[in-house]
């Protein structure tokens, strides 16, 4: 039993190494975190963040005390050669009561703010300035503004300082709506309506994504939140609410690419069986509404920048870009895909 002595220098070295590695990690990770829950930009997200920070420091206190006690014990009471057998202590009632009550007291300091925060954020919205209906689909987001006559996809616009009253439904399986900068998660449950509210307080663009596993391309179900100034939001809403002109009625100086693309979209491409463009005969309900797809910054649920090349790639081979999704490869060639992309980008 004599080789039971701890290898102290080695252990200290390893601890120091681990500490250094962790410190390096903090430094290396001091970058920009656009999707971070620790950089809140709304009333609800700020409430959650300050609650979390309070709990965090209580937890750190407990961690330091317990790990400190453990380390002290391990170093202090290692076996020493020739020492007498330790006294057999079977317990101590006062200590037991003490370390039962101490965590209970700490839990009061965590539990009370938890309940208060929960009561404020998990109830009906304080006001309902902008109503939004969210429908989750494998693997994209449908956003409707019932009061504004807008239906769009994957990019949510909200005016700064107004409370968004968000209703959540699912078109197929479970999803979870999550923009970490403005709110916690809320699931989209098939057959039910869920709700959520928050008031964004800073103009900006914030990424979000589905947070409940929803099948093959769950990882590719992103979205973007644009928090606009009131004027920008007004302008955006007015444009989005307007329909497109009917097909077969091209503007005088239209790009021939666009004209050709429109022809394919409404004809051989078969696009209208799934997609809608308000103001035209395209009224499909399976895929995203494309009325103003040219005004979006991304396509395929936040996956690709909305450029002619990316759009053409997506149209040509949707399964390669997003495995398992419902969009069909309609067998268009390079040229045709480019033309359809040109037409779609003209829908601003």
């Amino acid at each position: 039993m004599t080789d039971g002595r701890p290898r102290l220098p080695g252990r200290r070295r390893q601890l120091a190494f681990a500490a250094l590695a962790l410190a390096a990690l903090f430094v290396a990770c001091g970058g920009d975190f656009p999707q971070s829950s620790l950089r809140p930009q709304s009333d609800v997200a700020r409430e959650i963040d300050s609650l979390f920070r309070g709990i965090f420091w209580w937890a750190m206190g407990v961690l330091v005390v317990v790990e400190g006690a453990l380390l002290f014990t391990v170093f202090r009471y290692r076996e020493r050669p020739g020492a007498a057998r330790p006294k057999a202590v079977h317990g101590n009632t006062v200590l037991e009561i003490g370390w039962t009550i101490a965590p209970a007291v700490i839990l009061i300091f965590i539990g009370v703010p938890t309940m208060l925060t929960l009561w404020r954020i998990d109830g009906p919205p304080p006001s309902s300035d902008v109503r939004v209906e969210v429908v989750g689909h494998q693997w994209w987001w449908e956003f409707r503004y019932p009061d504004l006559g807008i239906t769009t996809a994957n990019e949510l616009h909200l005016p700064v300082g107004k409370t968004a009253d968000v209703r959540l439904r699912s078109g197929d399986v479970l999803h979870s709506f999550w923009f970490p900068r403005v709110s916690g998660k809320r699931d989209l449950v098939p057959g039910r309506e869920n709700s959520l509210w928050f008031t964004p307080d800073s103009v900006g663009v914030y990424p979000g994504q589905c947070a409940e596993f929803c099948g093959t391309s769950h990882a590719l179900m992103g979205m973007r939140l644009f928090v606009d100034s009131p004027e920008d939001f007004e302008a955006w809403a007015a444009r989005q609410a307007s329909p497109q002109e009917a097909e077969g009625d091209p503007a005088p100086a239209e790009d021939p690419m666009v004209t050709a693309g429109r022809e394919i979209f409404f004809g051989a491409g078969g696009c209208i069986s799934c997609h809608a463009i308000r103001g035209t005969v395209a009224a499909g309900v399976i895929g995203p509404d494309l009325t103003h797809v040219g005004s979006r910054s991304t396509i395929a649920a936040g996956l690709l920048e909305n450029t002619p090349e990316n759009l053409a790639k997506w149209i040509m081979d949707p399964q390669e870009v997003k495995p398992g999704n419902l969009m069909l490869d309609m067998g268009l060639n390079d040229e045709q895909a480019g033309q359809v992309a040109a037409y779609l980008l003209s829908l601003e």
């Binding site: 039993m1 080789d3 039971g4 390893q14 590695a21 990690l25 290396a28 990770c29 975190f33 656009p34 999707q35 971070s36 829950s37 620790l38 997200a45 963040d49 979390f52 709990i55 965090f56 407990v62 317990v66 790990e67 453990l70 014990t73 290692r78 076996e79 330790p86 006294k87 057999a88 202590v89 079977h90 317990g91 200590l95 370390w99 965590p103 839990l107 539990g111 938890t114 309940m115 925060t117 929960l118 998990d122 109830g123 479970l174 999550w178 970490p180 709110s183 916690g184 809320r186 699931d187 449950v189 057959g191 039910r192 596993f213 929803c214 093959t216 391309s217 990882a219 590719l220 398992g324």
Partner: protein, 586 residues
């Protein structure tokens, strides 16, 4: 001594709890490698953003099977290996109460595990997560056979767990040696007792929900189908009524192990024995009332969320009490840092980290940001790897001499421990940051530019180190099995009954059933051996448990292949039960 002699047939027909324990252990070690390779593939895929090493379909199968394998085919059977080998020895019994039923449990487990893993070769493994949330699992959204393999494989393995749990409850109540009162039971036996109750209470809701799902998929019922009035949330409730107690099924055996190891290597009795026992029972009890803390984002309303928040926080109290008592056991002791002790101290240190992050997401509003992110992945790996796996390795180093009569190499054990300790921290610690900064779970890829890159690189490096640690253990394990058997009866100077008999123990364990006079019998002259030689009967080997389990395996396969095979499997199982019933026992 004859304990392990005999050919393959003697292992197939064995009903000896020690041999069955070894079968469980070797099987769980195999699946530990399988689950570890799955983990390595996952980490390699996530090492860089937008990586294309794995397809989305492959990744989803791997994360699903990694979870199922590690929880149900590694931690549970490795715990069962110790239940089997150690518990009868700790209570002074010659075997478990129902030896053939014990063999039957093992065969059900191994058939279930192999059946589920066979899905990789027959059209793809389940790819819906170990939690398999409805309605993604419906035949509409999961048309392949992956989900069917999940249902049928876990039905087999789950039945094995329930049967084994009943066996251990009966064994611990009825087969204790004279004087081995409940408040003298070693902590590992106590936790086996508690976990067995958790298993028989938690598995049936899961079994029922998989039967519902099976009916939805095969016979068109609508339990979870929203268009027919079903509710996908029903699955979530039923699953977590099983799934949360399952967490304690996974951790309490490890708690039991370290509660035996720490006193031994501190040369002090366990501090606050009754409090450690009661806190284990209380954790198990509270564990049934907190399931909806996995569902804070589901929208159950603030009343439900605050109730489940509060109940979840309460679990921190008995858990903290256990940790304080372990530290108090070491306080004032003479600590010997054998590998088993290193792993036990590692458990205490790592479980505390998992515990405090657990308190962070017991708070429902905070959890709305944390759930389904890597923060939760970090949390439960500190609990399950830092807790269960380190605890089970403590048990491996501790009881290896008792099982084999040989010692695992101590310096290699220390290398194993430190590599694993550093590896797991590098793997899981950065995940806290990744999660809080917005990286969701169960994604086969993540876009560049969200700031997760470095966290994921470090995690992958840590996973490689952990894998090397497992390799060091395997080398140690195989090398040590070839050394000369030098272990005496009680090499660690431990206090419990299993150390009073030879290493490895004879087939019948105890020549004379001891009478126990104290909680630490080997430290306090607490054993009185009866003078008279006893007459004892050992059960005969039997192949009927294997036949019955094989029949059930064929029946489950038939559910995928066709009715004739169902009937054949059912017939074989009935013949197995018949043969079993009329077989002479001794």
């Amino acid at each position: 001594m004859g304990t392990y002699s005999g050919g393959l047939w003697s292992w197939i027909t064995t009903v000896d709890h020690k041999r069955i324990g070894i079968l469980y252990f070797v099987s769980s070690l195999f699946f530990f490698l399988v689950g570890g390779i799955e983990a390595m593939l996952i980490r390699l895929q996530l090492a860089t953003p937008e990586n294309t090493l794995l397809t989305a379909q492959a990744y989803n199968q791997l994360f699903t099977m990694h979870g199922i394998t590690m929880l149900l085919f590694v931690v549970m059977p490795m715990s069962a290996a110790f239940f089997n080998f150690v518990v009868p020895l700790q209570i002074g019994a010659r075997d478990v109460a129902f030896p053939r039923l014990n063999a039957f449990s093992y065969w059900l487990f191994i058939f279930g595990a192999l059946f589920l893993n066979a899905s990789f070769f027959f059209g793809g493994a389940p790819d819906v997560g170990w939690f398999a949330y409805a309605n993604l699992t419906s035949s509409q959204y999961s048309p392949g056979h992956g989900v069917d393999f999940y249902i049928l494989g876990l039905a087999l393995a789950g039945a094995g767990s329930i049967v084994a749990a009943l066996n251990f409850i009966v064994t611990i109540i009825n087969l204790r040696a004279p004087g081995m009162t409940f408040m003298r039971l070693p902590l590992f036996t106590w936790m086996t007792f508690v976990v067995s109750f958790l298993i028989i209470l938690a598995f049936p809701p899961f079994t029922i929900s998989t039967v519902f799902l099976l009916f939805d998929r095969m016979f068109g019922t609508l339990f979870f189908e929203p268009s027919g009035g079903g509710d996908p949330r029903l699955w979530q409730h039923l699953f977590w009524i099983f799934g949360h107690p399952e967490v304690y099924i996974l951790i309490l055996p490890a708690f039991g192990i370290v509660s035996d190891v720490i006193p031994t290597f501190s040369k002090k009795p366990l501090f606050g024995y009754p409090v450690v026992v009661y806190s284990g029972v209380l954790i198990a009890f509270l564990g049934f009332g907190v399931w909806a803390h996995h569902m804070f984002s589901v929208g159950l309303g603030r009343i439900a969320n605050s109730a489940f928040s509060g109940l979840t926080m309460l679990i921190a109290i008995p858990t903290g009490v256990k940790i304080f008592n372990w530290i108090a056991t070491m306080w004032g002791g003479a600590l010997r840092f054998k590998s088993a002790m290193l792993f036990s101290i590692g458990l205490v240190a790592m479980f505390v980290i998992g515990g405090v992050s657990g308190v962070m997401h017991s708070s429902a509003p905070a959890d709305l940001q944390q759930t389904d992110t890597y923060f939760v992945v970090a949390h439960f790996h500190y609990v399950l790897f830092g807790g269960s796996i380190l605890g089970l390795f403590a048990g491996v180093y501790y009881w290896f001499p008792k099982v084999t009569g040989r010692f695992l190499n101590e310096p290699l054990g220390a290398v194993h421990f430190w590599l694993m300790f550093i590896g797991m921290n590098l793997t899981f610690f950065p995940m806290h940051y990744a999660g809080l900064h917005g990286q969701p779970r169960r994604t086969f890829t993540s876009p560049a530019g969200l700031g997760f890159e470095w966290f994921n690189v470090v995690s992958t490096i840590g996973a490689v180190i952990t894998f090397v640690a497992v390799f060091v253990f395997l080398v140690n394990f195989i090398r040590s099995l070839r050394t000369a058997p030098t272990a005496e009866a009680n090499p660690w100077e431990a206090s419990t009954l299993e150390w009073s008999i030879a290493s490895p123990p004879p087939v019948h364990n105890f020549d004379r059933t001891p009478e126990v006079r104290s909680r630490d019998p080997l430290w306090h002259d607490g054993i009185v051996l009866p003078a008279a030689e006893e007459v004892f009967h050992m059960p005969n080997p039997s192949y009927w448990p294997l036949v019955t389990a094989a029949g059930l395996l064929v029946l489950m396969t038939g559910a995928l292949v066709g009715l004739p095979l169902v009937l054949i499997g059912g017939a074989v199982a009935v013949v197995g039960i018949y043969g079993w019933s009329f077989e002479p026992i001794h």
